[in-house]
């Protein structure tokens, strides 16, 4: 599959730089590889199928670039230190263990789907002199520039600005210092606030700016139309992809190494589905992840057209639900049975 085809996959890619600009960056960096990045935190409710979407996508992006003759380096960051920040001192150790488990899960994904992703934990570098030095420079630069400081403030929800101000906005600075040297950052749409600050800082320093690539938002499965209607704005941001317990909806998530396939099939069958492309479609979203997983397992490179097939009437709602119910077990859940 070409990089153009991958980036134009409907139902998977929400917003992306042009293929030409990514290739140009890779050429500029050669012989060094272009650095692809996806980072996530986690909770204690398990590994979501939505995280898998990002792992598989980063790997697919790397492969299309390699096939176009470019060198790549793909990093999946498990932000264990960040995940520990808001869990209280009594849970610190537990959450560090969970971080290790998430990192091991990505390694398992590498084995099952041959994704070739490098897994890095935040705790491995956050206290290093290199990182601290980089962060310090960024802090100094921002403190000397009211526009940048304002942008930093915007990375924090309004209700938490004062708390974060007392902590010197360290969480935000850690994030920015982490991503600033990457070339393509894959993530959910809500992360553009960090990306924007990182770009502004890089621009002021005359450095390469990170390119943001947003995948479609994640949604709970098994919810009816009323749930989506009552949650204004969910179409744009969805729920947190990598935290199974986002909005306490862990019972409505596909959790790898956790969910029972029969239960998931029931959720899929009861799920809201619409022919309106602008509305959430959790079943289609899972279907696309299944197709990505299937392609990897079968060594297939075909473009995923499930979204167009559904919205243009070639696949009915019943067929979609049935295919996805089977696919999620066959290509994903069964591959991670303990």
């Amino acid at each position: 599959m070409s990089i153009e085809a991958l980036l134009s996959t409907n139902g998977l890619v929400k917003e992306a730089p042009t293929a030409k600009s990514i290739l140009a960056r890779a050429d500029y960096l050669a012989p060094s590889p272009i650095r692809l990045f996806y980072g996530e935190t986690y909770d204690d409710k398990g590994h979501t199928i939505d995280s898998l979407k990002y792992y598989l996508f980063v790997s697919n992006l790397a492969e299309t670039l390699q096939k176009a003759g470019r060198l790549t380096d793909s990093t999946i960051l498990i932000a264990d230190t960040a995940a520990c920040r808001n869990v209280g001192p009594e849970n610190q150790n537990y959450y560090m263990v969970l971080g290790e488990e998430r990192a091991n899960f990505v390694k398992k994904v590498n084995k099952v789907y041959k994704t070739g992703l490098r897994v890095v934990k935040m705790s491995e570098y956050i206290h290093s002199p290199d990182f601290l030095g980089k962060r310090e420079k960024i802090i100094e630069q921002c403190k000397g520039d009211p526009t940048l400081m304002e942008a930093i403030k915007k990375t924090v929800p309004e209700s938490k600005v004062e708390i974060e101000r007392e902590k010197g906005f360290l969480y935000s600075f850690d994030e920015i210092a982490t991503i600033i040297n990457f070339d393509v950052k894959v993530g959910p749409p809500r992360e553009d606030l960090y990306d924007n600050v990182a770009r502004s800082i890089a621009k002021r320093g005359g450095k390469n700016q990170i390119m943001s690539l947003f995948l479609t938002p994640s949604f709970p499965v098994g919810m009816n139309w009323a749930y989506f209607f009552a949650n204004d704005g969910i179409e744009d941001h969805g729920i947190t992809a990598y935290k199974a317990g986002s909005k306490r909806l862990q019972k409505n998530r596909v959790i790898i190494e956790g969910s029972n396939p029969t239960y998931i099939r029931e959720l899929i069958n009861n799920s809201f589905i619409s022919l309106n492309r602008s509305l959430p479609n959790p079943v289609l979203d899972i279907g696309i992840i299944c197709e990505m997983a299937r392609n990897r397992l079968e060594g297939n490179e075909r473009q995923i057209t499930l979204a167009d097939d559904f919205y243009e009437g070639r696949v009915s709602e019943t067929e979609l639900k049935e295919t996805v119910g089977i696919g999620v077990e066959k290509y994903i859940l069964s591959k991670f049975q303990k």
């Binding site: 009816n224 139309w225 009323a226 209607f229 204004d232 309106n276 509305l279």
Partner: protein, 386 residues
Amino acid sequence: MKEQVPIDLIAEKDYKDKVAKRDKESLYYEGKAEELSLKSTKRFAEYHPNPSKSILTGITFAHRDLESVVQSMAGEGPWAVISGLNPSGPLHFGHKQIFEEVLWMQKQGAEVFIPITNDESYVVGKVKSLSESRKIAYDKVIPSIIAMGFSPEKTHIFVDSDYPDLYNLAIDISKHLTLNKIYKVFGFGENKEDENPGTIFYRGGIQLAQILLPQYEEFGGKRPSVVPVGIDQYPYILLARDAALKKGFTPPAATFVRFEEGLDGKGKMSASRPGSAIFLTDNLEDAKRKIKSAYTGGSPSAAFQREHGGVPEICPIYQLRAYHFPNNDGLKEQCATGKILCGECKKQATDEVSVYLAEHQAKLPVAKSKIDKFLLKKPIRSILTK
């Protein structure tokens, strides 16, 4: 001798006036919704698997807090709809539009409560006596509502003065409000001292009792509810939401409907201007006459209208046909592009209205015989015994 103005100039001015009226009305509803922080119903229309015609066409154009009702609407629990009316005359097509929306809600699982506010008709001076409005209620209003197809098991109709337990609820609720608040919400001006106490008690007690009644213990207790209303009824919703919180009830949601244009082109269809409305009890000749003489969005010059089209949005005949009868989806475009002129449109409207009235009126004797099955008689004792 006075010089005659050419017909084209007259037609052009008429067209411009009608376009200006359309734009003003459109801005009125948008502006009101914004001013009152109401949400558009477009989102609801996108998500609901089978939205009503009223919501799809934007007649029901805004809502307040429908979010509180939708899980029940999706089958997750009981909910209620409250929609009453003032029996100063028979039902007309403006009422029909709202009751069809209520009927749709019943089909989505709602228990329907229909207060017939003959006490209000009297205190605000729309009828000469309580007995007059009571008679209209039983003779003209309730049979027409029943004939629209409501289920007797899930519909509770009550004429206020025949359901005195309502007044105990009004007393119960009125304690949670102040005169100041009522004056403020309803915008009573300097002449407030001239209002009769009945009107004040109606607005500050009885109307709220009607809205909150489904949440009293006798009717199943606290639950989501929705009140379909015109935008001018918003003060009642505000007061009811406030009182609901104080009573530990769920604040009622509301949907807001555009008024149906009166046939005389002088404002909403209203029983107080009999020429503005086609009543569901009108004989066919009266209905034909009203349609024939109705104001329209068309032009005094047929040639001008063929070239420039009409202004359907402000035309009562267009609204009558588009809101109430199927198979008129393309009418707006036909009118706006001059493909149909008012004479032909009125003829088709007459045919549609005649068929409807004949069918509706044929159902009235049976509907009348069923009134008792729909009347709410349940005593409300909980507030007196606990």
